[in-house]
Every structure is written in structure tokens, then in C-alpha cells.
């Protein structure tokens, strides 16, 4: 069988946008943007920190990109051909692509980059598990020989969430993966200006003049023509929320990525400022139990405790007013989300009943060590509410507050609480990461290899494998429904609601991307 299969939607809407050359005629424009954190790691495949992802999307290009509905479209590749019963994929690179160091982008750069990425990324690992051979038969062809069909290959190579499958020169991609790259050379629309970087103050990007935008398709999110209208992008590190708000109002910065919800009314009241929720997928709250230790090694106790987690209360505390409760294990906007088995907990749980259930399940008043991290407001506020909820359910909670670095480390400690371990903690993941099982950290049941909490659920793992192999969207949806029901049974974690955060920028800024801050296609008057 031999068929030519361009991903759906890629041909839709030809480029109605101005040709890239026109941009040069415009005056020098500088965007001053305040990120949620300072960029410390410039290696796109080293950390899950958000700003590194934004950086990765600015500096590096990807073989495929995502549209506004997160469907993949060819980006650096012109297209692909699938042969041999879906077991051979041949990806053809576009002509004229260049790295920021002036070198041509070759297929072997892409192959080395994919290998580097797949060693760190879970989706990449799944892809590699299905791949017998990955090579570059010519300068512009990338070839995957698969051992079994992997229909989600473009989705994997076009993901925009952590880790971004960034294409970089072979010399960098082949460097020791245990060490972070200290050079950021990509082929994306913006060039990282290493010489102007001051840790704790600013990060600078300049438009890459030799970037060749895709000639076809519509500019949506990370797909279609990526055009750099702004000549220079300066990230300004402003650690203080109140100061950042004042700086935005005074026009010292153009874009304040992460104003806390209580500042929004003031910013909305300023005629020069637009407040918008670009990431409608938001963040999803997570209550994680340690499956290795009593009492949460007992699934009955986990299920009873899960019923104490009122999402309504959690969200009122964390989010102010833009939130939803009764959410399940997938991002509500994802086609993979369903209401199967929901809600897990009532809006106002019957704590007396939960107390009885806990007793029946065998809870004997063991101390629950709950971790909080005051430096991370999201984690801390959830933890304060969880502390309250578990206490109301009659659990004996020891609420331990740690500095964030300590929290991150202690979370990985599998020992008993008196030897530095833990029983319960709270955190959150971006809705985008909970879009489907591919990158969903919280739904893994591979015990010690899983995200802290170490749930052991062979059934969840089997469903996940089946999902990768499933050939149709409907089949994948059905599997995700089952995963949700299985998760309610096994409680790898308890969903604690979903909230969205708004971003604020000066009126002159237009074409602000969805989901995460992107600097191409963005216009500044």
C-alpha cells in the first residue's frame, strides 16, 4: 500500500499574510516582555520550566507545528509519505532552512535532534519504542522504520509542550545529554543573543533575517508561516508583582505575562492595557498521594480521601474567579476529556460520611505528612485547603512547609516521612500537558519510574499503550474514557480543579498567540 497523506487541515487557508520581505521595511521595533520567571536554562531539552519552553519555541523550529486546536501540521518538513503498511515514514525537509550560525539545516541534524529529544521526552520515548531505525538517507529526507504503526508521529514531532522537539545542529544534538547545552543555535524566527544576556535582568532575542517562513497554511499557534514582525524582543526580569503591574501601566514594559488574579481589576481599569486569557487551557490542580506508604498505599483510603477534595473550595482559594470545578483527568477542552465517573467529590463533601468510610477502609489515625511550599503560591494555596479538607475528614495531618528547592527534592524521597519522605502533596500541571495520555505525567502507573507518588497501575499503563496504537480518534476517545474510570478506581492523583490565568499587555500589541507567549506573528504598533 502506498499513499500520500498530508495531515488534515494543512492545506486549508493559503497564506493571506504579507510576504516575509515586507517586514524588513518597517522601523526597528522592540518588545519588552516580563516572563513569569528568569530564563536560567537555555537547553530546550533539559528542564520542564515554562520559560525554557517559550525560549525553545522562539529560537528553535520544529518539524511539525500545532494549530489553534493543537492538531499537527508540517512545519519544517514539506510533507511526509507513509509506506509499507504504515511502517515507513519519509519526511522531506523544506528548502532554504538555515540555522542561526549560518549553516544549512540537513536531515542528519534533524535525526540527531530527534534522538536527543526522545531520550528525555515521554512521547518521544513512546515513538522510539515503536521505531526500528531512524536515519537520514539524504540531506533532506528523514526516515522512520517502525516496528508497529505509530499514527501519532506528527503529533509527537510537533508538540509544543515540554519537551519541545527542537531541531538543532548535529554538533549540539550529539553533545553529552547529561549536560545542558550552553549554546542555543536553532533555526527559528528569533535568534538568542547570548552576549546581551544578564541573568536575573534580561534575555534578548533578535529577529533572524534568514528565516524562511512556511509559504502555505495559516499562521496559527506553532504552525503555518511564522513571521517575525518585531525586530528585538527583550525579556525583563521583574520578580515583584506589584512593580510589574506599575511598570506595565507606565509603559516601561509592553507585556506582563503572569499578573495574579487580584491585580486584574486594576489593570482592566487602565485604558492603555488589554487583559486577556490567552491560555484557555489553564492549569489543572493535582493532589498527589504517596502510593508506597501507608495509609495511601490502600486504594480504598485513597478513594475515600479523594472524596474530601472539593474542587470548588480549591479553586476559590487558588484562582479567584476564572475556574471550573468537576473536572476529570484530561483538560476539559481536549477531545479526550469526558464526564465519565465525574464528579469525584461533591462541591460540599459530607465529611462525616468520609470519616466513616476512612475508618471502614482501615485508616487508624496515621499521621499524614503533607508538604507545602510558600514560595509557590499555587502549590501552597492548594496545600492549605487540602490540609483543611483532610482534617475535616478526620485525618491526622502534619503540614510541613518547605522552601521550594527542598520541596522539589523531598517530593522525590520514597522513604518514610521521618526519613524525609511524605504522604500527600499538591501541585498543578498546564492543561496542555493533560491534553491526552501522551505527555500526561499524572496518569502513569509505572510505579518507581512514575512521577513522584509512584502509583502502580498496570491497567493504566496497558490503556496508555493501547492509546498510542489506536488508529482512530474515536478509538482514542474511548480509551481515554476508560482511563478516567480506571484512574478514579486507582487514584494515581485527585484532580482539584482547573483555573485559567490572564495575561496583560499594552494596547499596541496585537496578534498575541494562544496558549503560550510566542514572539513571531506578534505585532507591535
Amino acid at each position: 500500500m502506498r499513499r500520500r497523506d498530508f495531515i488534515r487541515g494543512s492545506a486549508a487557508g493559503l497564506a493571506a499574510l504579507a510576504a516575509p520581505r515586507v517586514v524588513l521595511a518597517q522601523a526597528n521595533r522592540v518588545l519588552r516582555y516580563k516572563p513569569n520567571n528568569d530564563l536560567t536554562v537555555i537547553d530546550p531539552i533539559y528542564t520542564s520550566v515554562f520559560v525554557t519552553r517559550y525560549h525553545a519555541n522562539a529560537v528553535f523550529d520544529t518539524l511539525y507545528g500545532q494549530d489553534n486546536n493543537l492538531n499537527p501540521h508540517p512545519q519544517m518538513v514539506e510533507g511526509h509519505v507513509i509506506e509499507n503498511d504504515d511502517r515507513l515514514w519519509r519526511l522531506k525537509l523544506r528548502d532554504g532552512l538555515k540555522f542561526h550560525d549560518g549553516e544549512r539545516v540537513l536531515a542528519r541534524d534533524a535525526v540527531a535532534s530527534i534522538r536527543r529529544w526522545a531520550r528525555a521526552d515521554a512521547f518521544g520515548q513512546a515513538l522510539m519504542a515503536a521505531t526500528d531505525e531512524l536515519d537520514a538517507p539524504s540531506d533532506n529526507e528523514i526516515r522512520f522504520r517502525l516496528s508497529r504503526p505509530f499514527p501519532l508521529l506528527p503529533a509527537a514531532l510537533g508538540k509544543s509542550s515540554t519537551f519541545v522537539p527542537a531541531i538543532m545542529p548535529e554538533r549540539l544534538a550529539k553533545a553529552d545529554i547529561t549536560r545542558p547545552l550552553t549554546e542555543a543555535v536553532g533555526s527559528g524566527p528569533y535568534r538568542f543573543v547570548a552576549s546581551e544576556r544578564v541573568i536575573g535582568q534580561r534575555t534578548v532575542y533578535e529577529k533572524f533575517a534568514d528565516y524562511v517562513p512556511r509559504p502555505d497554511g495559516r499562521s496559527e499557534y506553532t504552525s503555518g508561516p511564522k513571521i517575525a514582525y518585531i525586530d528585538r524582543v527583550e525579556w525583563r526580569v521583574i520578580p515583584d508583582q506589584a512593580t510589574a503591574a506599575a511598570a506595565l501601566r507606565k509603559g516601561e514594559i509592553d507585556w506582563f505575562e503572569d499578573p495574579i488574579s487580584d491585580l486584574l481589576p486594576m489593570l482592566r481599569g487602565d485604558p492603555g492595557i488589554v487583559v486577556e486569557t490567552i491560555n484557555k487551557l489553564g492549569n489543572m490542580g493535582i493532589v498527589r498521594f504517596n502510593h508506597l506508604l501507608a495509609p495511601f498505599d490502600n486504594p480504598q483510603i485513597r478513594r475515600a480521601a479523594a472524596r474530601a477534595v472539593s474542587q470548588t473550595e480549591m479553586m476559590q482559594a487558588v484562582a479567584g474567579d476564572t475556574w471550573s470545578d468537576d473536572v476529570g483527568f484530561f483538560c476539559p477542552e481536549s477531545p479526550m476529556a469526558s464526564t465519565a465517573g465525574l464528579p469525584i467529590a461533591a462541591k460540599e463533601p459530607d465529611y462525616a460520611a468520609i470519616k466513616r468510610e476512612l475508618a471502614q477502609a482501615g485508616y487508624k489515625g496515621e499521621t499524614i505528612t503533607l508538604l507545602g511550599a510558600p514560595q509557590s503560591p499555587g502549590i501552597q494555596l492548594e496545600a492549605e485547603i487540602l490540609n483543611d479538607q483532610l482534617r475535616r475528614a478526620g485525618m491526622n495531618v502534619d503540614f510541613v512547609l518547605l522552601d521550594f528547592g527542598n520541596w522539589l527534592q523531598r517530593r522525590n524521597n520514597r522513604e518514610a516521612p521521618e526519613r524525609g519522605g511524605w504522604n500527600a502533596l499538591t501541585t498543578f500541571l498546564p492543561g496542555q500537558e493533560l491534553w491526552d495520555p501522551a505527555g500526561h505525567l499524572g496518569l502513569r502507573g509505572n510505579k518507581l519510574a512514575a512521577w513522584s507518588g509512584w502509583p502502580d497501575s498496570p491497567k493504566l499503563e496497558a490503556l496508555r499503550d493501547a492509546w498510542f496504537a489506536a488508529g482512530t480518534e474515536d478509538a482514542r476517545r474511548a480509551i481515554c474514557r476508560d482511563m478516567q474510570l480506571q484512574a478514579i478506581e486507582d487514584v494515581p492523583y485527585v484532580p482539584s480543579g482547573r483555573w485559567t490565568a490572564a495575561t496583560a499587555y499594552r494596547k499596541g500589541l496585537t496578534n498575541v498567540s494562544r496558549y503560550i507567549p510566542l514572539f513571531y506573528n506578534l505585532k507591535l504598533a
Binding site: 506589584a242 480549591m314 476559590q316 482559594a317 479567584g320 507545602g372 514560595q375 492549605e384 485547603i385 522552601d403
Partner: protein
């Protein structure tokens, strides 16, 4: 600068009579007049004591002062402005700020006074040893230099990392940072005073070192030290707020004026009441501490008293 010569001439003539032993001062001062007379002569001290007493009483009697549980969460009623129900409004988790401020007095006072007392005691001891025991002076002062060069914030976070966020850790880390400052101050006073003729005379006439300290050094250290102690007490409460600002102060489950303000800081423009009330209480307490401190200094220092 003609300082050296001139300074030597001018500093010298202070007679033994103007530096009487400490017990005398107490006897003389307390004996003269009742409470009313005292208040009339020392309005500042009286105001300070009354203010401080109010705060201390509020801290002790917190549960009786129409407060609710300061840690009770009510997310549905978060960040509400002051009302008949929540006199000072509610914070980001819907906790009652009035109750938190009243209970917070406990923590802030404990932090302030513990740090002041501990650092003055240790600092005084170390400073005296450094001032009197020549062979040890250099060593002690270099160790103090070293201690001082470690920022209190680093100590606070490290202690928090070693155990967990707690009031004890806050006190310990601020105290460690303050001790060298006190000891340097004490040493500088000792160095200046022990050269005075009456002190040298006392030493040569066989007065023991403890007695010299008691009779001559302590009375002279008391003035600057009291000022320093009141400053330490006040600044400890402020440093606690700064520690909360970076997340290494007292944990939010234990309300203190510092962490109430730190938690509400981003909202100072939109919800100023969150910062306002603890700031008012803190200012009033600091004011009281200082009034008492200044008053004590004037009271204990006969020369200052004579002049006023």
C-alpha cells in the same frame, strides 16, 4: 584633621563621681516619688509602657478579644474589605485579618523580644571578653566578622531547609546575625572607656575585672546598648517580614504581622487593608518599644537626666 590631639584632651576629664555604680541609680530613682510622679516626670516612658502593655495584653488575651480561629479558611470569602463581620477584612484565603493581627502580636512580640534579649546577652558577653582579654580579642573579632558576613536570609533559608519553617528558626537566624553587631558595639565602648583615668585607676588599685565591668563599663554601655536593643527588637520584627517576603519567615499557618503583610504585598494598591492593619500595629509596637528604650536610657543615665 586635628582630631587625635584634640580628641585626647577633650575626652579625658570625666570624674568617677559622674559614673556611679549601678545599684545607686536604681535606689535613687525609684525612691523619689510614686507612680503619678513617675508618669509626670517621664511621659515618654509611661506612654511607651502603656502602649506596649496594650499590645502584650492583646497577645495574651487574644482568644477573648472577639477573635475567631486565625487559621480558619473560607476561600469563598477571600480578600473582602473590612466589614462588621471581618473588622479588618479577610486575606487571600478568606481568613479573618483582625484575628490574625491579634494573634500575630504573639509571634511578632516573641520574635522581637527573644532576638533582642538573646543577641544582647550573647553580644555583651562576647564584646566584654573581646574588650578585656587582649589575647582573644583579635580572634573573637575575626570570628564575628565572619559570622556577620553570612547574610541572615541565607541562615534562615538554610535552617528552614534543615528542618521546616518555624518561629524558632526565624529567631535563631536573626539572633546569629545580630550578635556580632552588638559585640562590636560593646567592644568599641569598652575600648573607649577602659582608657579613661578613673577606670585605669580602678584597675591599678586592684578592683577585679567583674567589678570594673559592673561599676564602670556596664553603666556606660547601657545607653548605647539599650538603644541598640530596642532597635534590634524592632528590626527583628521587620526582618521577619522580609523573610516572609522571600518565603523563609514564619509559616503562614502561624500568623505574624510580618507574614500577613508579606502575603498581601502584591495587592497593596488594590486591597491596601491587608497591609495597613498589621503595619499600624507593628508601627505602634515599634514606637512603644522605642519610647520605653529611650526613656530607660534617660532614666538610667544620670548625665542625660540631669540635663533634661
Amino acid at each position: 584633621m586635628e582630631a587625635p590631639a584634640g580628641g585626647a584632651r577633650e575626652l579625658a576629664p570625666v570624674s568617677t563621681a559622674t559614673a556611679p555604680a549601678l545599684p545607686d541609680i536604681f535606689r535613687v530613682r525609684i525612691a523619689s516619688g510614686g507612680v503619678l510622679g513617675f508618669v509626670r516626670r517621664h511621659p515618654a516612658i509611661a506612654t511607651g509602657v502603656v502602649l506596649l502593655a496594650i499590645v502584650v495584653l492583646a497577645a495574651i488575651l487574644a482568644p477573648l478579644l472577639w477573635t475567631v480561629d486565625p487559621t480558619a479558611l473560607a476561600p469563598a470569602r477571600r480578600a473582602r474589605p473590612p466589614s462588621a463581620v471581618n473588622w479588618f477584612g479577610t486575606d487571600m484565603l478568606g481568613r479573618d485579618i483582625y484575628s490574625r493581627v491579634v494573634y500575630g502580636a504573639r509571634v511578632s512580640l516573641i520574635v522581637g523580644f527573644s532576638v533582642a534579649i538573646l543577641s544582647v546577652l550573647f553580644g555583651l558577653a562576647i564584646g566584654l571578653v573581646a574588650g578585656f582579654v587582649r589575647p582573644l580579642e583579635s580572634l573573637i573579632m575575626r570570628v564575628m566578622d565572619g559570622m556577620m558576613s553570612i547574610p541572615p536570609i541565607l541562615l534562615a533559608i538554610t535552617l528552614m531547609a534543615l528542618t521546616r519553617g518555624s518561629v524558632g528558626n526565624v529567631i535563631l537566624s536573626i539572633t546569629i546575625a545580630e550578635i556580632p553587631r552588638v559585640s562590636r558595639l560593646v567592644r568599641s565602648v569598652v575600648l573607649a572607656i577602659r582608657e579613661r583615668p578613673y577606670v585605669e585607676a580602678a584597675i591599678t588599685s586592684g578592683t577585679s575585672v567583674p567589678m570594673t565591668i559592673w561599676r564602670h563599663i556596664l553603666p556606660n554601655t547601657l545607653g548605647p546598648l539599650t538603644v541598640q536593643a530596642t532597635h534590634i527588637c524592632a528590626s527583628a520584627m521587620i526582618i521577619e517580614a522580609a523573610l516572609s517576603f522571600i518565603g523563609a519567615g514564619t509559616p503562614p499557618t502561624t500568623p505574624s504581622w510580618g507574614n500577613i503583610m508579606a502575603e498581601g504585598r502584591a495587592l497593596w494598591q488594590v486591597k491596601p487593608f491587608i497591609i495597613l492593619f498589621p503595619a499600624l500595629f507593628l508601627s505602634a509596637t515599634v514606637l512603644a518599644v522605642n519610647l520605653v528604650g529611650d526613656g530607660l536610657r534617660d532614666w538610667l543615665d544620670p548625665r542625660a537626666a540631669k540635663r533634661v
